[in-house]
Every structure is written in structure tokens, then in C-alpha cells.
Symmetry: C2
Subunit: 197 residues, 2 copies
């Protein structure tokens, strides 16, 4: 009982800390809302996109590992803020790594080290699980732009060329899927006036 | 390629539809925010609470099934709205079941039927996975109240007696945990003036 009390205190400290992710704003507005999306609801949404697209993955992936990576990958933004994909250079890895150590470190082991190593695996994007998870994280804002009149691309002056270059990693989940999405992006961009380059 | 195009159209229809969960308001405010929580970010939060508490489950559970149940269980609220635990009678099952059929039915099979049967399993709360998932869903607002000065209990005139009765199912995840939480609730309630009964 003493053990469960201490572990429970650590786990609730983690749960209370990560609630702050509900305050981290992204650059995209969910369709039908005038406010920006936050990183917590985004993490929920991509976990379900991942599950839905897993049957089409080019390489077999472990569903639980992929979903867990997606649920935890943005937690570091509590310390570092959301980075807009088209602006951020990945020189921010060290700060994010520190944040991951601090926040996952609130948990008892082995959970703390499991989450930290999954976060590192996601960032490194070398395993099939991490590549698939990253592809899904990239695909989601593309889908949301297709669905909301390309709000975040228009708002930030992003071109079709940038979209296709920045998100080309989606092909690592499925080449056929990415080719199809590429066509959809070009069509929609023409409709709503997103410049080609 | 034609098959992936059709499936992808169905999957994106589902993904666009469930984005509406970001608009469904609950009665609790995340600590530090003046707005109410939405059901999408809540679903993310409980998926991680579930993973963190799984090692303490009284009966062994399947992590992927529990997490998936928690990620999808509130989606029906897109049609029916969030029901405050202390008000809702469960005569709403038929409407929620219809919503589940409509929304999961947007997906290609077998995903549509898998999600629907997981949703039904969660509602029935007979399997260990469903009982654990439900316990987590119940535990989260208790924790949030412990962390935010009992905001939703005070705002809605909820008593300690109601809290302990309504959430007694948490004991199905872990008896020791629920006993400990019961103590924490009584302490905090006294501190902030939540009446005993």
C-alpha cells in the first residue's frame, strides 16, 4: 500500500503536468471552430488516424507502440511550445530532449524510461514504427487543410511545393497513399488559391 | 490503387467527422484554463492515465484494447453531447448506440465493426478491459477535481457522498488505489468546502 501511494503520487504528478498540453496552440483551426487547435486534442486525433491507416502500412507496424508514440510525442511542447512545421529547424532537439527527460521523469520506472526511449525513437525516425507514426503526424495537418479550405497554408503563405516537400515522409507509410494525397493537394490548392511555388 | 482511394475517402470522412469532438464541452476546466475541457483532449488524457496505471490493474488487461476503447468511447457525443456523470441516467443508450453505428459506420470494414463492438463492450462493462477502461474514465475527473480545487463539484453542488458512490467502479481497476483516492477526496473536500452529503 505504501508502494502504490508513492507510485500514485508520481503518476498523478505526471498526469497533472501533461494537462498543460491542452494549452499549447498549433497553427491550424479545426474545421468549424474559430480557435486554434491544441496539441492534446491533436494527439488524440492522430492516434485514431494511425489506427485507421495501419492496414495500409507499407511495412508492418506494432499498433500499441505507434499509438503510444503519437500520444506522447508532443508532450515536450509543454516546455518548448509548438513548432510550425514550415518554420522550425530541428536545432531544437536538445531543448526538447531535456523536456522529455524532465516530464517523463516524473513517472516511476520502468514507465519513465520506456516513454523516454519511445520519444527518442520517434524523433530518430529510423524504425518502421517511428516512421509510420511520423508519417501520420505529418499527414494530419495536410488532411485538415484539405478539409478547411487550406486555412493554415493560406494564413502563413505556404506553397504547394512546400507542402509536398515538407510532408514527403508520408510516403514511408504508404507510397500509393502519398501519391493519392499529392493529387488531392494539387486539386484543392488550385480551387482555393494556394500558389504552386 | 482504386481500392486504396475508396478506403481513403471513407477513412478521411471518419477523421473529418470525429474532429467535431473537439467542440463537445465537458463540465470540468483543465487547471489553469478558464474554458471548459473538450471531449477530444479528455480522450487523449485518459489514454495516458490508463497506460500509466495498467501495471497496478487488479486483473490483467490488454493495453491496446483499453487504449483504443478510451480513444473512441466518447465519439458518440458528437451526436448526443456530453452527459455530466452526476445527472445522466443511462436511458440514453439507444441514442448513443445509433450514434456509434452512424459514426463508426463511416469507416471501411472490418474497422467499422471492430470499433462498434469495442464501443459496445465498453458500455457493457463486463470484460476486464472494459471495466478497467471505465474505471480510468471515472478516475480522471476525480483527479482533475483534486488538482483544480474541486471546481466542477463546487460548481454543480456535488457532495463527497455522490463522488464516492458515482465513482466506486474505480475499485474494479484496483481496490487499493480506490481506497487511497477515497482518502484524498475526503481531505481535499474538507479543505475547499465540498459538503460531505
Amino acid at each position: 500500500m505504501t508502494a502504490i501511494k508513492q507510485d500514485f503520487a508520481d503518476i498523478t504528478a505526471f498526469i497533472y503536468e501533461i494537462e498543460k498540453l491542452k494549452q499549447v496552440e498549433r497553427r491550424i483551426k479545426p474545421k468549424g471552430l474559430s480557435r486554434y487547435e491544441n496539441s492534446a486534442e491533436h494527439s488524440w486525433h492522430i492516434a485514431l488516424l494511425a489506427q485507421s491507416l495501419m492496414p495500409y502500412a507499407e511495412n508492418p507496424v506494432d499498433p500499441l507502440r505507434v499509438v503510444t508514440m503519437l500520444l506522447i510525442h508532443d508532450i515536450v511542447e509543454i516546455d518548448t511550445g509548438d513548432k510550425f512545421a514550415y518554420v522550425a529547424e530541428h536545432d531544437d532537439f536538445e531543448n526538447e530532449h531535456q523536456a522529455a527527460k524532465r516530464i517523463f521523469g516524473l513517472l516511476p520506472d520502468p514507465m519513465a524510461s520506456t516513454y523516454l526511449s519511445m520519444w527518442e525513437e520517434f524523433e530518430a525516425a529510423k524504425s518502421h514504427d517511428a516512421q509510420f507514426a511520423k508519417a501520420i503526424d505529418r499527414l494530419m495537418p495536410v488532411l485538415q487543410n484539405l478539409n478547411n479550405g487550406c486555412q493554415s497554408w493560406l494564413e502563413h503563405g505556404i506553397t504547394v511545393e512546400q507542402v509536398l516537400k515538407k510532408n514527403a515522409g508520408v510516403a514511408k507509410a504508404s507510397e500509393a497513399l502519398w501519391m493519392h494525397v499529392t493529387d488531392l493537394v494539387k486539386q484543392k490548392a488550385q480551387e482555393v488559391g494556394v500558389p504552386l511555388s
